[in-house]
């Protein structure tokens, strides 16, 4: 979808880490590409104008990890609703995980999603294929066919590739394609039956916990296999301080490891399961709001110590990118007991506000955060050279314009995502998207 008319984004603070740019200026998009970026232009071209005064203009966000649920779970989300939600959240590229029904383990399903996204998608959809057939962890999927069909990575996300020998094979097999194997790091024996972080809160609630070691075991294994094979492992949704430390050490040794972290793991603790949105002490009386199933996510919300390590890792670049793990669910999946509830948070529309809370708290600077959501994932995708995640002249015309200060109250009922499963209901976030531009055309504009 190439804009018919040039788009002139005027007077915003342009933050583009791909070229170290942070200035108040203008941005002109023509034929779906960046035609001009820099100091304010003297004469306004004949173009549709978006006044970005007081707002931040950056490359559109790239989400390397989300769930669009189609095919198979259209009651939770579709490619149409999921990409609309992405646009509202400021994302112009989303990579969808293969835990669909059927799983994305063949070129046919990849093709279905690509066609559907071209017809109904509001932003760019890139496809992640399954590592194993049916995501069953038994035998490799036809990885070459998937790579040729255009997947940007393979993953059995939702489950780990528990069989180490199979993981080793997948890493070796994917090497010639230059694509990563994304692993959901969880030792399924250690985590069996667990529904939240193992700790004081799980014990208090009488819920079965997933220890940090369940993730760290698998992170350690994957680092060993990356060393053994030279294959690229991308570690999905890190949640523990121990994982960050291991990735830090692995990177220092130059191993082919990359990693991501999600907004909820950077901002929420397991205490949110107590039903008081993180307030109060673990021993305060539990009320009807306790066992808030919107806080149930895999990997689980951890401790403030883990948050500190994750924020530090993101700041240092040990963790390469922020992704969302947007996991929309229907009400019936969540309006049940905590044990029965589905794992996942619908967060693509709240991600920016959540992440900006780290900026407002002085824990990470804006340029770094934007880099982790734009240039860094574009590099991982191998598409930085094709102009993704950048506002350099000639780059793809994907832009987000956001107000970093505007407060707004989260109302999941107002989400365009079908998944209303957000623990942030009623929370005031500071920072929201004013407009999202995809390929040079406005895909979403506040109030429009």
């Amino acid at each position: 979808m190439v804009g018919t008319r040039p788009l002139f984004i005027k007077g915003g603070r342009i933050v583009d880490p791909s070229q170290g740019l942070d200035l108040v200026g203008d941005l002109l998009l023509q034929e779906g590409r960046v035609a001009y970026v820099g100091a304010p232009l003297d004469t306004a071209p004949d173009a549709e104008v978006l006044d970005a005064s007081g707002l931040i203009v950056s490359p559109g966000f790239i989400d390397l990890h989300c769930h669009l649920r189609e095919p198979g779970f259209e009651h939770k989300e579709t490619i149409a609703t999921g990409t609309l939600a992405a646009a509202r959240g400021g994302f112009t590229t989303v990579c969808c995980m293969p835990n669909t029904e059927p799983a994305i383990d063949s070129a046919v399903v990849v093709d279905f999603i690509q066609r559907k996204a071209a017809a109904e998608g509001v932003v760019r959809v890139l496809v992640i294929g399954a590592v194993t057939r049916g995501r069953l962890g038994k035998e490799l999927a036809d990885l070459g066919e998937l790579a040729d069909a255009g997947v940007i990575a393979v993953s059995d996300d939702g489950s780990p590739v528990a069989n180490a020998a199979l993981m080793k094979s997948a890493l070796l097999y994917m090497k010639p394609y230059g694509l990563p194997v994304i692993d959901h790091c969880e030792d399924p024996v250690l985590s069996r039956g667990g529904v939240m972080n193992e700790g004081a809160v799980s014990s208090r609630l009488g819920l079965r916990g997933v220890p940090a070691a369940a993730e760290e075991n698998m992170v350690a294994r994957n680092i060993q296999l990356a060393e053994l094979t030279g294959g690229w492992v991308h570690l999905a949704h890190l949640s523990t301080a121990g994982s960050v430390a291991m990735v830090r050490a692995a990177k220092e040794r130059g191993l082919p490891i990359t990693a991501e972290v999600m907004p909820h793991h950077l901002t929420l603790t397991d205490a949110w399961a107590l039903g008081r949105q993180g307030e109060g002490d673990v021993n305060d009386p539990l009320t009807a709001t306790a066992y808030d199933t919107t806080t149930k996510v895999n990997p689980p919300l951890r401790s403030s110590t883990d948050i500190d390590a994750l924020v530090e890792g993101l700041r240092d670049g040990v963790i390469d990118i922020v992704a969302t793990d947007h996991a929309p669910h229907a009400a019936v999946d969540k309006e049940v007991t905590y044990d029965e509830a589905a794992f996942g948070i619908s967060n693509i529309e709240t991600a920016l506000g959540s992440l900006l809370s780290l900026v407002h708290a002085g824990r990470i600077d804006l340029q770094t955060l934007v880099q982790r959501m734009t240039a860094a994932p574009a590099t991982l995708l191998g598409r930085a050279g094709q102009g993704l995640g950048s506002l350099k002249t000639g780059s793809v015309g994907d832009v987000v314009i956001f107000n970093a200060e505007a407060p707004w109250e989260v109302d999941p009922a107002a989400f365009v995502s079908r998944g209303k499963n957000s623990p942030l209901r009623g929370v005031t976030l500071k920072g929201r998207v004013f407009a999202t531009v995809f390929n040079g055309s406005v895909a979403y504009q506040e109030g429009a």
Binding site: G206, A290, V336
Partner: protein
Amino acid sequence: MTTRSDVRPASATEVLPSSLPPRRHVLDLDDYSIEEIELVMQTTDAMGEVLRRSIRKVPTLQGKTVVTLFYEPSTRTRVSFEQAGKVLSADVINLSIASSSVEKGESLLNTARTLEATQADVIIIRHGASGAPNFLARCIEGSVINAGDGAHAHPTQALLDLYTLRQRLGSIEGAKVAIVGDVLHSRVARSNLWGLAAAGAQVVLCGPPTLLPMDWLRDQHLQGRLASISVTTSINDALDGADAVMTLRLQKERQQDGLIPSLREYARSYQINADRLKLAKTGAPVMHPGPMNEGVEISSEVAHGAASVIEAQVANGVAVRMAVLYLLATGRGEE
């Protein structure tokens, strides 16, 4: 036929401080003050008096509907709630899961909505999932009583334990109460923690390290209301000079998790038997919430011996649940 409709003892009014907030649900004892526990105890005294009459029926809850909704098998809890409701003249509906829509896959939410439509005043729920009563409480307008949920809470069991202890010890304040066994999976232990701590007992939790929730029960959390709680893996330390011993059921169905080597090893290390009981104070009552694994967590000799108050616990169950129902359905003693 009795003409007395007011079963409230005079003393219950006296101990009722005006500051007690109205109660809508009984989810656990973590929100009970010592004053409110005392009110339940005194109301239980009055209910016990009703149960000793030749005609055990008072019209207090006439016109109120009480539903028991049990997703897990239960004998004593369910029967005692049913009897409690009937003695108080409530209409008691027992929703048996085997003959209900739940067997057809109906969710707890829809079952709750159905019960709501029948204008149930109180729903008494037993469920295998921790937090199911909290979930129910946020779905419905009426009152919820937790009759045991997962590993979370079993408040009426803890209240009847408190009542039984009070009968035997006089005062609970300052008493050393040893709770021995599978604390990790025990809703009874969790609720007793709150109740006993509020009542001023010195509680010692004891079990093998794999069956103690050590991440919670450590110094940083054993403050404030839980300051009188301590934890040990030493059965001798736990029983030494104890005023009362509470034995927990070893949840055999969790054996597959490999948390203990064997039942034999568990019994060798933690069974409450006559020899070990000598460490406790002479005549210290021994409790068990039932159902017992005799020969595992408790020896038959102790279970049926002089120190055992297990039958008294069962007997007190009805009066305690009458008190809880009464206080909930009548707005805490006001009429």
